[in-house]
């Protein structure tokens, strides 16, 4: 009757196809999943019927019987942090390309939410990508032992990871400040549980020592623009002329606060951010920051996870991938004030 491909009331099942072709449901299943196990004529009949009925396999049922869900969980501490937008977009694109569904969860910066989400995902996802985990190494390693996992910006023995190598750009940032005449610098630190923050501080203080520059640490601060106010006040109070900040969100908040207080950037204080997030190029002044290919990091994380899921598909699965980082100089850094 209808020329269009049957907009039936209920989605077609494998049984509808079987009935239409006069074969058993299992034959249909095989014809679709494992074509060479079925006679080519039968197979073509079945495939034609599948198209005609507009058949799409029911993913729930498939998951139940096969054990694979075709979904991957992506855990981020805070969806509204722009840093994760690009990461999420990277994972989303790569997962879709591979035919997987992305389950995005905001763990609200909480290790408990993170842990319970991981437990839940264990049944409803084939694997997880965990960005900036708030769990301790032990818990994370235990979770990774239970299901395929790739971490982002988190190094734990035995857990494949994508590391955005901001620490390597720290000496570069410091040299940039030194070349501008700064000799007293503060590191504005992120959350205490953030391994990224710790690594950045370690790299920075090592570089400072080898160069004989005074670098102190202040914080910790939550990774939000609102924290920037307290950070700016603390930086001013500490008497430094330049700050290297855990991330761009805090840095942008500092910019705003310094302006409120009538201090000029970079004349009175130079600021270097981290991540080069959305907004870093158009804030006032534009932020000097450490840039990295975040979206690409998301894609790499997915590739590494998929390599774990289908070990056959070759390409020895690396367990650690480091993304390069470089300093992008904009307007928030300048010569140290003479006083």
């Amino acid at each position: 009757m209808a020329t269009q491909p049957v907009a039936a009331g209920r989605p077609a099942t494998i049984h509808d196809i079987a009935a239409l072709c006069g074969v058993a449901a299992s034959t249909v299943s095989r014809a679709l999943a494992n074509p060479d196990r079925v006679n080519i004529r039968t197979r073509e009949r079945i495939q034609a019927a599948a198209v005609e009925l507009n058949y799409t396999p029911n993913s729930q049922a498939k998951a139940l019987s096969s054990g694979r869900t075709g979904a991957v969980g992506v855990l981020v501490p805070d969806i509204t942090n722009p840093f994760y937008f690009d990461l999420i977009r990277g994972t989303q694109l790569q997962l879709k390309a591979a035919g997987y569904t992305q389950l995005l969860v905001d763990t609200e910066e909480s290790d408990e939410v993170e842990a319970s989400t991981l437990e839940q995902l264990r049944k409803s996802a084939d694997g997880v990508i965990v960005a900036a985990s708030r769990l301790n190494d032990e818990a994370l390693a235990a979770a990774a032992a239970r299901m395929p996992m790739v971490t982002v910006n988190r190094d734990v023995d035995g857990v494949p990871a994508v590391i955005i190598d901001t620490p390597s750009a720290m000496p570069q940032a410091l040299d940039h400040l030194i070349s501008l005449g700064h000799t007293s610098v503060a590191y504005v630190s992120g959350p205490a549980v953030s391994q990224s923050s710790a690594r950045r501080w370690a790299a920075l203080s090592a570089a400072a020592e080898s160069r004989g520059v005074d670098v102190r640490i202040i914080g910790p601060f939550a990774p939000k623009t609102q924290s920037g106010a307290a950070a700016a006040d603390a930086a001013v109070h500490s008497g430094v002329t330049a700050c290297i900040v855990f991330n761009d969100l805090i840095a942008i908040g500092m910019l705003q606060r310094l302006r409120e207080r009538g201090l000029r950037v970079p004349e009175d204080m130079s600021i270097v951010g981290c991540d080069d997030i959305f907004g870093a190029d158009f804030c006032n002044p534009p932020l000097t920051t450490m840039s990295s290919p975040i979206e690409q990091a998301g894609r790499v994380a997915v590739s590494m996870l998929l390599a774990q899921l289908n070990p056959l598909a070759g390409g020895g699965n690396r367990s650690r991938s480091v993304m390069p980082t470089h300093l992008t100089v904009r307007g928030s850094t300048g010569p140290a004030s003479p006083n």
Copy 2:
């Protein structure tokens, strides 16, 4: 042996509990889902066993037999557009609170991707929230007939919607510009298929007519900062002294382009954005824009969808919810230049 709650190799099933308690699996199912149908002593035994085995129901299996998946799809045209961050966070929070899982999909501004995603989601989600749909009314209504749906910023007969009422702030924005002496204004339009853009233009041109002001439309432009360059050039060429822009992304892009061309904002050109996204408050100059409670819109959309899913839980389900909007004046608007 282990004092901890059994970190067994395989997640516990309803059958494990049944075996442990010496009852049938169905009794366990009832005890957990429908407690008063089971003897209190048996029930407590079962519940204790469930806790001890660290039981979590398998959502796939539950979905298969009950028909409900416990998941809700959220479709946005572009994950990296900051406008959607707050929306996504709103839906995420509300869905989690109601025990649902969020399936986030980026439809890449494509009606085809959107349509195929909806078809796919029909089996794997209980309902969908569609933000800024690129589908035509007919296709959208058809999809809504097949599964529970709530749209955001899209009005289609018979489909419940959350509308962020930016059009109502248009007269306010225009009056603001008029009060600053502007008499020649351009509307920088968004995607041709965006109903939001059309509604904003309609409201603006109506207000302009009643006030006797010249307002022309330029565009369409893609909702990205990159489009701002072309938009700024077109605006300058058209000779207007002020622009009301489809959204903040384009507006911020215009700000950058105007600066590049050596034009001052607001002295040479006033800019009014739309949405008050992340970044609108710290760009240079800070953007005058139409603000609205986006995260709340996400929460409302979820509530409306859940009302459709559980019609019992009272609260006559409204089919349309309008979110208020107001003008936020910042630094990107100022007096019209005298020439």
